[in-house]
């Protein structure tokens, strides 16, 4: 296995001696999702972003359909990153499904983590009528999603890959994004979607002894408030913050609100840190 820095395109910024804060992107794009949020933390923290295996600038060869068929593999990657960078007292910020990746990692090796910040988390996307759980999707919805992703090959193939056009106002950004952003191999996208949307991590929540912050957007069709509340209520130590931001990606649509919610939480909880 190659060096994790290259393997998962690990980028660092901020204060070298600061407490490490690791930002993980969820289903979909890559570490660019955090580009408007991380600068807020640079002055005080050692800021680390990375691409999940199979996404963005991660080494394509490291991805394997069998291994990456469940979220546990991504949690193992996270633990490997923490291990290889020898990080202690980690603040982990996971967006979307990366929130559950953080939950799995912290349940396995809680000593490594000081805080988890879960942005738009859901422990299970499919409703579970037996227990009255509302995840927001019916099984038919998810089946449709998976079929859609499986059949999207031609649309995502190299020849017909979605090309992201330049933004006249920010040509540099455009060039950078055109190269990689959201250009995921369809097999990777489909496998990760299965791992994400078929997962049920409800039983893992009580096993996380690390203090958590749940950030919930309004009108989030991927992780509705019922899902966020469930996560909050089943974590042993958790705070819940409802944000004004709408949609599923507040890190892009409302980076200021997202960053201050995280920063406020960390400041308020400073006494609780080890």
């Amino acid at each position: 296995m190659s060096d994790i820095r290259a393997r998962n395109n690990v980028r660092e910024s901020g204060r070298r001696e600061g407490q490490p804060i690791v930002f993980a992107h969820g289903y979909g794009c890559d570490q660019q999702m955090w580009r408007y949020v991380t600068p807020v933390f640079d002055p005080d923290y050692r800021v680390i972003v990375y691409d999940q295996t199979g996404f963005g600038g991660a080494e394509p060869d490291a991805w394997d359909a069998e291994r990456y068929g469940t979220l546990a593999a991504y949690a193992e990657d996270l633990l490997a990153l923490v291990d290889e960078l020898d990080l202690r007292g980690v603040i982990f910020v996971g967006h979307s499904v990366a929130a559950m990746i953080g939950v799995l990692a912290a349940a396995a090796e809680p000593d490594r983590f000081a805080h988890l910040v879960l942005v738009g988390p859901s422990a299970r996307y499919i409703d579970d009528p037996e227990t009255g759980y509302v995840g927001g999707f019916s099984e038919a919805d998810i089946t449709e999603l998976l079929v859609a992703l499986d059949s999207n090959h031609l649309g995502w193939s190299t020849a017909m890959a979605p090309v992201i056009m330049g933004n006249a106002d920010r040509p540099q950004l455009a060039a950078e994004l055109t190269a990689s952003f959201c250009r995921t191999d369809p097999r990777v996208a489909s496998t990760f979607a299965r791992a994400t949307f078929l997962s049920d991590n409800r039983a893992d929540l009580p096993r996380v002894p690390v203090p958590c912050l749940v950030l919930q957007c309004s009108d989030d069709a991927i992780a509705p408030e019922t899902a966020g509340r469930y996560v909050h209520e089943h974590l042993p130590v958790s705070e819940f913050v409802a944000m004004r931001a709408t949609g599923h990606c507040p890190n892009l649509s409302a980076p200021e609100e997202t960053a201050s919610a995280i920063a406020d939480y960390l400041r308020s909880d400073v006494h609780a840190r080890g």
Binding site: G28, A148, N152, M165, N167, A174, A193, I222, C249
Partner: protein, 566 residues
């Protein structure tokens, strides 16, 4: 594009465009749609205007794709091009379209809305589906091929690991390692208490050597679990094999009451598990736990069958190794029992040594013996029965008895003793082949001592005197046990010995090494004993063994008999 803004009433260019066009406001609500859009989707204007495109007009799948992938791109890059999504039609049907979208900004750069073009690609889907089907089939074939190869690898690796093992512990270690090198992510092989131990022993392995300690921790905990894991108990007690193809966190908590065991499971990751007994001669001698983490394709019934196959082979190997070990310790005990204490012989000091073979697997038929004949002449025997097993040890016992009896009763010379013993052994059907050397110390009427010996194919004795050491290398006669067809007389040889002389009789294990000629070993022996004539006899024996035994390349056992005059 002049006059393309659709906000101010009907526009022929807008409505006759050969694709569906939408305009969204900053929040993503539809503020305008062209005639093509309505014609293609079947929607009525009132079902579209004011609705959120992503939430109200897309299929569930496309909703997720839009939210997780397309919205971020639009947000960051300002444009989307040629992405396949599905529109939901009023009748519940789906319309596949390629979406292109551009953000609209005002003079200050604030986003005011989005222009969207949708191109139906329904007709292309059939073609795409054909391609996809072909690809899926190719992948299935490849996966099946890979599976077959992995299976073969497991059996090959496992069998090799077993075949090269020399004791049960090593066999279990290697088996565990072979299993956790791809077939499983981690494995434990348990051996229940055996005849000579009352503790459960185990071997643990992890595909990532750094995580082996976790497996070892679990292995140490499991046997103390009173009721669980029941699959392991069933394997050990009833010889039952179990396949657990999908193990959930709930299963694991239900399976054990121990927080430590649960923590080990969590640390290792348990996705699917095989528990298979190792049976030898109808007895359950061990059990294998092989596990894959949740990230791997779970074990299936074929994997279970493969592991049972391998466990069957392991059972045979372990049984053989155990029997061999038992036999070895029996042989050593038998041999030690036969090597008696030397009798008192007036005017002579006698010292003996016996070292079993160093690799622990072979038992020699080496022996030494001393006794007094009827006329009280002291006789010394050293011998080596061919073979390295319990038969050799037993044959040695019989031959030694025959030589002793004949030597005692007949009072003959060494050559006579050997000749008669050979005949007696043949007549009594003691079917062993052996080399031996018989010597006795004859005292003349004038008090001088003579050493008389006869050699049946044995390495030459060494005589150490104050003037040096030499081999008594008169040509040896044939070994014992080759009766009849080689009926030639045996010879006695004599040499005068003086007080202080030391006779060293030994077996070939002392001088033979796998990597050199016998002459080299003999020369080294002579070198090492020269100048030791004054050493205490026990110290002399220790020195000889230290110089020649037993660490380097010596596989045989060694018997030593030293006699000093005066």
């Amino acid at each position: 594009m002049p006059a393309a803004e659709p906000t101010a009433g009907p526009d022929p260019e807008w409505d006759t465009a050969p694709c569906a066009l939408l305009r969204l406001d900053a929040a993503g609500r539809v503020v305008a749609a062209n005639a093509h859009f309505f014609a293609q989707t079947g929607h009525e204007p009132q079902d579209v205007h004011g609705r959120l495109l992503w939430r109200d007009l897309l299929s569930a799948g496309s909703r997720v794709v839009y939210q997780t992938q397309l919205a971020p791109v639009l947000e960051l890059a300002g444009e989307l091009r040629e992405v396949l999504i599905e529109l939901r039609m009023p009748d519940g049907g789906r319309l596949p379209v390629l979406i292109n979208a551009t953000r609209i900004r005002d003079a200050e750069g604030n986003v005011t809305g989005t222009r969207v073009a949708l191109m139906s690609i329904q007709d292309r889907r059939a073609y795409e589906n054909e391609l996809r089907k072909a690809r899926d089939e190719a992948e299935r074939a490849r996966a099946a091929d890979l599976h077959a190869r992995q299976r073969l690898e497991l059996l090959t690796q496992g069998s090799t690991a077993l075949a090269s093992s020399t004791d049960v512990g090593v066999a279990l270690d290697r088996l565990a390692a072979a299993l956790a090198s791809g077939f499983a992510d981690w494995s434990i092989v348990f051996a229940p208490p055996g005849e000579d131990t009352d503790t459960v022993s185990w071997s643990a392995a992890h595909i990532d050597p750094r995580r082996r300690a976790h497996v070892e921790r679990l292995a140490a905990l499991l046997p103390h679990e009173a009721d669980a894991p029941s699959a392991l108990r069933r394997a050990l007690d009833e010889g039952e094999a179990t396949l657990l193809s999908r193990v959930s966190a709930q299963h694991l908590s239900a399976a054990t009451g121990s927080a430590q065991v649960l923590a080990s499971y969590a640390a290792l990751g348990v996705g699917s598990v095989l528990v298979v007994p190792i049976v030898a001669r109808g007895l359950d001698v061990a059990a294998i736990i092989a596990a894959r983490t949740p990230t791997r394709v779970p074990f299936d019934a074929d994997d279970l069958a493969d592991l049972r196959d391998l466990a069957g082979r392991a059972g045979i190997v372990i049984d053989n190794l155990r029997r061999h070990a038992r036999e070895h310790s029996n042989s050593v005990a038998l041999q030690q029992a036969l090597l008696t204490t030397a009798p008192e012989a007036p005017g002579l000091q006698i010292a003996t040594r016996y070292l079993p073979a160093t690799n622990g697997n072979e038992v020699g038929g080496d022996w030494y013996d001393t006794f007094l004949q009827l006329d009280r002449t002291p006789v010394f025997v050293i011998g080596d029965v061919m073979g390295h097993d319990i038969h050799a040890a037993a044959g040695m016992g019989q031959l030694r008895g025959v030589l002793r009896t004949v030597g005692y009763l007949e009072s003959g010379t060494p050559a006579e003793i050997l000749t008669r013993a050979d005949a007696a052994a043949h007549g009594l059907s003691v079917a062993v082949l052996a080399t031996a050397l018989v010597a006795r110390v004859e005292t003349g009427s004038d008090g001088t001592a003579t050493l008389c010996w006869s050699n049946a194919g044995h390495p030459p004795p060494v005589l150490v005197s104050r003037t040096g050491a030499r081999l008594l290398d008169a040509p040896p006669d044939r070994p014992l046990g080759l009766m009849r067809r080689l009926h030639r007389p045996r010879h006695d040889h004599r040499v005068a010995i003086a007080p202080g002389d030391t006779l060293l009789l030994y077996t070939d294990g002392l001088v033979e090494r796998t990597d050199e000629e016998l002459d080299v070993g003999l020369a080294r022996l002579l070198d090492s004993v020269a100048g030791t004539a004054d050493a205490d006899l026990d110290a002399f024996c220790d020195l000889v063994l230290k110089e020649h035994n037993p660490t380097l390349g010596i596989r045989d056992d060694v018997a030593l008999l030293a006699v000093r005059v005066g």
